[in-house]
């Protein structure tokens, strides 16, 4: 079985982002970049399936500038076998490569690579769209198991437990299928130094969107980006009685 894992290069989870002063974009210069955390979970899940003997090859794909190679190498250090970078200078967070374009790119690659399963993050923590996996499943006509917290593969049988509002839902999907990961699916490992060294030697192919017959036209133009209205802090109360008084008589919420 072959798995394809699309990953995205995003501003690291721990970085407090700043909006550029002209309101055109998020400041990305000299900011630490990482694999989108949900995608890292996807890579880990694929590697665990390979370690259990159910998977023979893991291919990671990213759409990014030249620098996207860094995230592919990180995924390889976790255990992916091969990488494909679709190189573009368009913005990948906002106002550039949109989820539908990403889905079309992935479909074109899947038509060539013929994987049996795609595992990817449920959303990227930059544009927060939560669309690409569902769109890709639609374009391929495949089943989708979104927001997965548990994945079982038994031959052709794919069983996925999904995190839905109010609890969990378990589905059996026809193969091939798209799985999108939620936080509790697994805890990604830290890559060890020897694996990081080994990753440098794994095959990484760089192609252009035009090689796949695609261009990244924008359908959803960014008019402006702004910092949210800050919420003002209030007061400190002295004790529980004071708190109850304020909630009853000042805020009138109880």
């Amino acid at each position: 079985m072959k798995i394809l894992v699309p990953i995205k290069r995003v501003v690291d989870y721990n970085v407090k982002v700043r909006v550029k002063s002209d309101g055109s974009a998020i400041e990305l210069a000299n900011v630490k970049m990482s694999i989108n955390p949900f995608d890292e979970i996807a890579v880990e899940e694929a590697v665990r399936l390979k370690e259990s003997g159910k998977v023979s090859e893991i291919v990671v794909v990213t759409i990014a500038s030249e620098k996207g190679q860094e995230q592919i190498r990180t995924a390889m250090a976790i255990g992916a076998d091969r990488g494909i970078l679709v190189k573009t200078d368009a913005a990948i967070d906002l106002g550039g490569v949109e989820p539908l374009s990403v889905a079309k790119t992935l479909k074109a690659l899947i038509d060539k690579e013929n994987p049996d399963l795609v595992i990817m993050g449920k959303q990227a923590i930059d544009d927060d769209s939560n669309q690409t996996g569902q769109m890709l499943a639609a374009l391929l006509g495949w089943a989708q198991g979104t927001f997965a917290s548990k994945l079982d593969i038994d031959g052709d049988k794919i069983t996925v437990t999904r995190e839905v509002d109010g609890g969990l839902e378990t589905l059996e999907l026809c193969s091939p299928a798209i799985i999108t990961t939620d936080l509790r699916l697994n805890e990604p490992r830290y890559a060890k130094l020897p694996d990081i060294m080994k990753a440098k030697k794994k095959p990484l192919e760089i192609i252009e969107p035009s090689d796949l017959g695609l261009d990244y036209s924008v359908r959803m133009k960014i008019v402006n980006i702004a910092e949210p209205q800050p919420r003002k802090g209030g007061i400190k109360v002295d004790n529980v009685d004071d708190l109850i008084d304020k909630l009853k008589n000042e805020a009138r919420v109880i």
Partner: protein
Amino acid sequence: MSILILAEHDNVSIKTTTLNTIGAAVKIGGDIDIVVIGSNCGVVAEAASKISNVNKVILADAEHLKHQTAEEIAPIIVDLAKSYSHILAPATTFGKNALPRAAALLDMQQISDIISVESVDTFKRPVYAGNAIATVQSSDSIKLITVRSTGFDAVDATGGSAEIENYSVGAAVNLSKFIKQEFTKSERPELSSAKIVVSGGRGVGSKENFDLIEKLADKLGAAIGASRAAVDAGYVPNDYQVGQTGKIVAPDLYIAIGISGAIQHLAGMKDSKVIVAINKDEDAPIFSIADYGLVADLFDAVPELEEKL
């Protein structure tokens, strides 16, 4: 403008998130139709027909639509789409799962999680975990949009008298099979629509100690929430999680107990009307956004609060 709303329901009743979604449609302006997709859900269509501002209810009722999988819902939306300028769904796990599948089949770039309507084609949506707000303008001929329910007032569930039209459902796609559902049983109000939410964080210390939070919540008739740290520590299930990676809530009163106030948690509750923080660390970031902060040991303050309310 003509707007189609994808109703969220459980084949028995309409979820309030649908009413907020219609609230967003009212801001766009135009005729508003609702599609109810499910099985044996005539009662839902009846309820939908009474919602104010609704022009027409379309009922797609078939056995294979019972579990409302995206694979079965999307073709119906695609079929109906040509009559509409906008198609809206709540930005819940239901809407997030189904709508992008329809958008891709229609070759439209969906606009996710809007919090305001600027014009018929321009919307505001939070990005980067709510640390920035993007104003986006869509050039697509049909705008498929998911709506963050806390951004829009719910319309009245009564007062309307729309006609109900039956949709002729095609054959099942059969790409996935429902196995089971495990819903957290609770007498308490639903987290995303509760008027009061009492949330606990890592400071609560254990699963057993969460009893304190539960007692206070029951006294107030509140829903229970938690920070991601409390979920990760195993104190409560994940569907209690409030934050960018969990649920977004905006109740009248949010009480954060033993929660330090990580950015990712604040993103999920900072639009609450009144925020109370109880924490023994007076430098906790939660105090910078709380209307009322109480620096105290939660193990003293919470039982006292519960007793005196």
